[in-house]
Amino acid sequence: MKVSVQTEDFDLGLEVLDIQQDNRIGAVASFVGQVRDVPMTLEHYPGMTENAINKIVEEARSRWKILDFTVIHRYGDLQPNDQIVLVAIASSHRADAFAACQFIMDYLKTEAPFWKKEHHPDGARWVNALEADDKAAERWRGLKQQRLLKP
């Protein structure tokens, strides 16, 4: 059960190994986000970032059976192909692991206080938030309501 906001890189294999020890675990789903073609600097709000991620994970744990998890988000200067974010979820069954992993990623994109500044050849510019990311997080709200209506 780990949340880490760090400048250092991470090793997916080692992180997964860390959360698959419990013999009730039958599934581990993981997601790695990485930098595409433009170098960037990631700024964050120390303190609030960790709080926000912990809240997102708590919400996921209230919806699905999660036996262990690791969330790592990097900040600072990153180059093309560098890893940015890791979400890994260990559950008894794949449905919970897949869903929780996607839920946490969708909420990280809209709730965790990170900001990307891209360094293009013609200058640096801050990345604009995407409406598609809001929609991705929004659809989980609808699902929660459906679940509440049909317990």
Partner: protein, 85 residues
């Protein structure tokens, strides 16, 4: 009363400051009151904080509404919509 005010990303760059302490009259002790006081400085302050559609606010490291109340010593942060992940 005094509150600690933080700015992030393009707001920090446009305002030329990342953190400052602001003395707020008790009659203006909400996020909206703080924002109005900062906007009265004019220039970039007026421009950057005018459009609350593109400015998010957190109070004590929790997302907050524009009319959220403030207390002495609170930490208030202004920043653009987030773009991590």
């Amino acid at each position: 009363m005094k509150v600690k005010v933080l700015f992030f990303a393009n707001l920090r760059e446009q305002l030329g400051t990342g953190v400052e302490e602001v003395d707020l009259p008790d009659s203006a002790s909400t996020v909206a009151g703080l924002r109005m006081q900062l906007m009265r400085r004019g220039g970039a302050w007026q421009d950057v904080l005018a459009d609350m559609k593109v400015v998010r606010v957190a109070v004590n490291q929790d997302m907050a509404a524009a009319n959220a109340p403030l207390n002495p010593g609170d930490e208030v942060a202004f920043f653009p919509p987030v773009t991590g992940g």
